[in-house]
Symmetry: C2
Subunit: 179 residues, 2 copies
């Protein structure tokens, strides 16, 4: 039997000092390149929620797209991107979130979600939770329902889940792997 967790774990590479000194970057590209690991990760996200339960998948630029788009496809759901400023051509909703130094802005097209739609937010990594919380805010601002957040990898030592639950107390957070 396939031990999916062990396979996924073996396909994520630690890259020290990327993008800046002192940071250990979790590179998921070996996982994406392995068709068994890639399909296994997508299928595990879909199986956790169940087909037919999700109307739209929201994916976060740019690595988040790589898991979110096939998850949307396999759910039979539509896909909606959340992007950095200047990338989406039509009128947008936007929200900002704090970083250690400064802040970031994320945008989503107005009208991309309909009121009441059931939405799953998907990203590659849950770190401090700031990005995920911002994406959830955009979904709720559009009047849609956040069914949950699914990520490939949760970096437990950053305690993003706790921060996220301050903003979104009822959010179901599902990580395929945790460190």
């Amino acid at each position: 039997m396939l031990d999916l967790e062990a396979l996924l774990r073996s396909r994520i590479v630690d890259v020290p000092d990327f993008p800046t000194p002192g940071v250990v970057f979790k590179d998921i590209s070996p996982l994406l390149a392995d068709h068994v690991a890639f399909a296994g990760a997508v299928d595990a996200v879909v199986a956790f929620h169940g087909r037919g339960t999700i109307d739209k998948v929201v994916g976060i630029e740019a690595r988040g797209f790589l898991l979110a788009a096939p998850v949307a496809y396999q759910f039979g759901a539509g896909f909606v991107p959340v992007r950095k400023p200047g990338k989406l051509p039509l009128a947008t909703l936007e929200t900002s979130y704090d970083l250690e130094y400064g802040s970031n802005v994320l945008q989503m097209h107005e009208g991309a979600l309909q009121p009441g739609e059931r939405v799953l937010v998907v990203d590659d990594v849950l770190a401090t939770g700031g990005t995920a919380a911002a994406a959830c805010r955009l979904v709720r601002e559009a009047g849609a329902e956040v069914v949950g957040l699914s990520v490939l990898l949760e970096l437990g030592f950053l305690e993003g889940r706790a921060l996220l639950h301050q903003a979104e107390p009822d959010l179901e957070v599902h990580a395929l792997l945790q460190t």
Copy 2:
């Protein structure tokens, strides 16, 4: 019966003067948000080549990821990203291509493709062909075989197909839609 071409065409929106004055941007986000159109586009790319014929799908950052990743998933293939400089953390192959003013660089991880692997390059739009030609160069530099290029939309008036065939005479170019 579903008229896929008409559906896809109806879900691409012209946005004048984006990202710069005089350019008409083809926004594919309504297509991605419509689960029938999105799945139809993915399935049409896979059906054109046939399952079991592709080892890896190469997708071009960032909108190209949105079609390429689910296409890789549905082929049962691995996915390999081609990205702008500074995004990939490990050693890369790189190539540059000319723009109207200046040039762009694209990178792919070394070792992401194995010699002899059958590779499909996937992007959202075929415009001048410069990006697609650069991606094909990276695939061949890795020793792999470019089986073809699949895009959602070919902007015929830019004659990218002709430019691409100067660099890649035998490349099979498959566009779901043409303007």
